[in-house]
């Protein structure tokens, strides 16, 4: 009988201790951020693997480094790349990338002999159709070249240095 009463007192005390924890958190600052108004900081996305992008050439910064060797196409486990070789030069005529099939494993990036591929940090890509996920990477490269024609930094770090329009600390 006394034991039962004592157990109940202990039980109620344990509930109060738990309530005290939640009470503390009620007054602590908010941990989450409100997505459309605020997005995560840039440094958190440095190593994030977004959809692929073509890097710029070392000397000619408006050209791709791709030599259409098809190694990435053979390495890809999801068959999501399609590279067509140009008629006159080695550089590709078209570079199509189906993001809906891509598993972001990085086999293409690691196998590329010239370092022509890199992961971008576009994390807020949203579409309503499958066709919009087939990305033309040469077109994407041209757009980036038009935005910033010459890079001061070493071209190897282009992927992480270029500011992406979607990632602003407070939009």
């Amino acid at each position: 009988m006394f034991r039962a009463i004592w157990d109940n007192i202990k039980g109620i005390y344990s509930l109060l201790v738990g309530m005290a924890v939640t009470w503390d958190f009620f007054f602590s600052p908010r941990y989450t951020i409100h997505y459309p108004r605020k997005v995560v900081e840039r440094e958190n996305l440095e190593n994030y693997r977004g959809p692929l992008e073509l890097t710029r050439g070392k000397k000619e910064q408006d050209q791709t480094r791709c030599i259409s060797c098809q190694l990435c196409v053979k390495a890809c486990p999801g068959h999501c790349l399609k590279v067509t070789k140009g008629k006159e030069s080695k550089s590709p005529e078209s570079w199509l990338y189906d993001f809906s099939l891509c598993c972001l494993c990085g086999a293409c990036v690691e196998v590329c002999p010239t370092g022509a591929l890199a992961f971008s940090h576009k994390v807020y890509m949203v579409t309503t159709t499958r066709e919009a996920l087939i990305l033309d990477l040469l077109k994407d490269l041209k757009e980036r070249v038009a935005e910033t024609p010459l890079l001061v930094e070493a071209p190897d770090s282009t992927a992480s240095q270029e500011p992406s329009a979607a990632v602003v600390k407070e939009a």
């Binding site: 202990k10 509930l15 201790v17 939640t22 958190f25 190593n47 994030y48 693997r49 890809c76 972001l104």
Partner: protein, 398 residues
């Protein structure tokens, strides 16, 4: 039975078999059902079963008489896929087998291929493997902790668990590049070396997590409602666990000292000093406390690893390329995942792709304990037992 009863409860077993409709499983399960009992489907889309698990239960009032898990709703032919892809191309799949504990599966496959091909891994890569695997174990146990208490009706803890999980995801994202289905291991090392920020964040995380574990004790473990829901419910003794091949925290809660990290040492785990928690109690509460103590053991391993990590390469120079061919032979490699023993068995005939791959998922064996453990309990306790098994359905179905 009178038809007015059907009006009250359309699922009540009737004398006339034509009056109620079920699919193959319900019809075959029903044959032994007694008059007046209710057949209930938990799932495949029931919120309290994790993922698309379907459990058929026969109820007498609120008591579970029989139960039977129905699997296969998330079968993705993972083993067959390993037979049509080269080893390098199959590696990203391993993160998808168990989305909560991808690093252990990475290790199982990479380790099996390395054992067959005789590839030596640099010491720094072994340390990075241990660090990532232990971080991943903590994040998996945290999500289980939140989801388990959610099953029992407490919504608050999962929000606290996700705060820590986000921190671990931030740390693992630095080296793996993704937050969920990580593809970090390569044959002969790991994909990326950890930078200063990576080790600094782990150094901050370890004392922070120890503080949070104390808070978990106040908030949940000592809570009288939780104790009364868990203590003495769903005991699984040593004999039951061994008969069904249960591994992981469930087996250790039953008092069997079996941890793959100690029993079949792999990697550099033999260099670390840590304690593997062992039961009893072997009830729901025992399994609960076993996982929280495992988080502490993982933190111990982590703090030793970041202190003593050597300099060096993170991958060997001539690491296998995507077109790499396995030498002929048969190999078997086991690692300790968050849910139990993960095994990869490869049979290769020296061709472009392996001849056969078998993946042993711990969740599959652990789930088979449910039918016996849930017999005679009330339905709400059966849900608690299901939650305490820590099931991840993609891993069970593969």
């Amino acid at each position: 039975m009178a038809s007015w009863l059907n009006f009250i409860n359309p699922f009540t077993i009737d004398d006339d078999p034509g009056t109620y409709l079920g699919d193959f499983y319900t019809d075959n399960f029903e044959k032994g059902a007694q008059k007046g009992n209710v057949i209930l489907n938990l799932g495949p889309q029931h919120p309290s079963t994790h993922g698309v698990l379907r459990v058929l239960v026969e109820l007498y009032g609120e008591y579970v008489l029989r139960s039977e898990p129905v699997l296969g709703y998330l079968h993705r032919m993972q083993e067959k896929m390993g037979e049509v892809k080269t080893p390098y191309q199959y590696l990203p799949n391993m993160g998808r087998v168990d989305y909560l504990n991808p690093i252990a599966w990475n290790w199982a496959y990479a380790g099996a291929v390395e054992l067959l091909a005789g590839i030596e891994v640099p010491e720094r890569a072994e340390y990075l493997r241990i660090i990532s695997a232990e971080l991943n174990r903590i994040s998996s146990h945290l999500l289980w902790w939140g989801a388990f208490v959610l099953d029992l009706g407490g919504v608050t803890p999962i929000l606290y668990a996700f705060e820590e999980r986000e921190k671990i995801n931030d740390i693992l994202q630095i080296v793996t590049g993704s937050r969920l289905t990580m593809n970090y291991f390569r044959f002969g090392g790991v994909g990326q070396d950890g930078d200063e920020r990576f080790f600094a964040l782990i150094g901050e995380f370890i004392p922070y997590m120890r503080e949070r574990l104390k808070m978990y004790k106040d908030l949940v473990t000592d809570n009288v409602i939780l104790r009364r829901r868990l203590e003495g419910i769903g005991p699984m003794d040593r004999d039951l666990c061994l008969r069904y091949g249960a591994t992981g925290p469930i087996l250790r809660a039953a008092g069997v000292d079996y941890d793959t990290r100690k029993a079949i040492p792999y990697g550099l785990y033999h260099k670390f000093e840590y304690r593997v928690p062992i039961g009893p109690p072997n009830d729901n509460f025992g399994r609960y406390i076993m996982r929280l103590e495992e988080i502490e053991a993982s933190l111990t391993i982590l703090s030793q690893a970041i202190e003593s990590i050597p300099q060096g390469k993170h991958i060997i120079d001539k690491a296998p390329k995507p077109a790499y061919k396995l030498p002929p032979g048969e190999v078997f490699f086991a690692v300790e995942g968050a849910r139990g023993q993960v095994i990869c068995h490869i049979l290769s005939d020296g061709g472009k792709t392996p001849y056969r791959i078998k993946l042993r998922a711990p969740g599959f064996s652990n789930l088979s304990l449910f039918a016996e453990a849930a017999k005679g309990t009330i339905l709400a306790d059966a849900i608690a037992i299901l939650g305490s098994l820590d099931l991840v359905i993609p891993e069970v179905d593969r």
